[in-house]
Amino acid sequence: MIQVENLTKKYGAFTAVDDVSFTARSGRVTGFLGPNGAGKSTTMRIMVGLTPTDSGTATIAGRSFADLPNPGLEVGVLLDASAQHAGRTGREILTVAALTMGLPKRRVDEMLDRVSLTPTEAGRRVRNYSLGMRQRLGIATALLGDPEVLILDEPANGLDPAGIRWMRDLLRGYADQGGTVLLSSHLLHEIEVIADDLVVIGQGRIVADGTKAELLASAGTLVRTRVVDDLATALTASGLNPVLSGATGGSDVLRVDADPEVVGKVAHEAGIPLVELRAADGAGLEEMFLELTSDTQREGNS
């Protein structure tokens, strides 16, 4: 279990991590979701002691990371797959890590096999690795000590679809056997398919936190019509609060925080023909996420 309490990290006037608290439970895959620059990586670096915190604590199974006698055996960490000496071979990188943790050499071969790096690939220098191969090597390093907790920053980056499925199965298996998995991503769909729990961060603050089921359920209704303005007026007159649903990508869809039945009744009474009426199923989460993202997008096309 990973417990983060009131973490704050400032860089001058900029608050990168702002009073962040959440728990990643054992037996679950926790997705740490947020746009680029939201504070995911900084939070993860604080957890493993690479970045000093201004206030707050992060503990793993009740202990701070620095108090772990041999952290590699308890927490598998992958923060940046490209942060390796370009002149070392993949096998050498694993060997050095195994040596540090005090593990036998055969463990290196087991891990290479587990992440499907062939002996030839493992003998190449990391300089010549694709991003996907680096991710596999990084995941191998994290798994090396057979830890009960995994902390992975954007592990799916650079993996092909088959690679993403492989990783999903691997992390699922890990959690099913009682492990704690925390992985970050800036892609909602990527995390939706893997995670049991979601922690959403934007501009350094936690904006949503709960099980995937909870977060996806609380999303209201999506309604599509050719006469959006008329429907919006009618819904507003009925005391509802319709918003254009950016997540669906169309300008003819409204999202309403109400049951489909209520929305259908309002439309019927106002004589407005509908094209589509359904429960939003996570569209609310997606919209919230898009809003977060658009705030940080340079194009400003929100």
């Binding site: 493993v48 970045t51 952290p71 390796q84 540090t100 492990g179």
Partner: protein, 260 residues
Amino acid sequence: MSTLTAPARTITPIPTARLVHVEARKSFDTRSGFWLIASIGILATLATAAVILFAPDSEVDFEAFASAIGFPMAIVLPMVAILSVTSEWSQRTGLTSYTLVPHRGRVLRAKAIVAGIVGVVSMVLALGIGGLGNVVGSAINGTDLVWNISAQEFALIVLGNLIGMAVGFMLGVLIRNSPGAIVAYFVYSLVLPTVTLVLGETQKWFADKQAWIDFNFAQGPLFEGSVSGQQWAQLAVTGAVWLVLPLTIGIWAVLRSEVK
């Protein structure tokens, strides 16, 4: 995950000897690291050959070999010390190293121990190559074998080189960037002495006090075979200011800084 089915492991702290082993391995396991250390032996051999070929017969003695070998050593050894520290930052391997061992002071200490071992072993190796060169050189030139370096002199030269490595280590922790620290080392050990040399020749007040101010100048006696009590004091005073103080600041910075 076998941890949950297998009997619980007892996890013991990582011993320092293991960290030293890891750091030693990291010094050799890249092409650049390997050739840097191999270059010590190669340059020593080339320097020895050069003395045999080019030095006047009357000057082919052990000291000639020692000083010919000493010059490349004084440049390469500090690089070994610099890169052991800075590559963690420049190559970003620190992300892994300082996560597997979340005590940066312990990692730095292991690096320092490895640098010290590399320094002493290299010097002994150089002594052997120089000695061999002396025997071969004298035989080729038909001159008498002259062993004019005492154990004490050799020990002082080793100390001088270890100080040079410590300076490299200091610049490494202070700057934490490979090119930056290497450039700084050359400024520190080649440019600075030129400046102080000129200063000493033109400013009398400086010439009088130079041995108490100039760390490079104070190291001179180490390479000349004997060090007086006063010279030890000068070495200690200048070393405290030019080495120990910035080293302390640098270590403090490494312990505090963010690894990205």
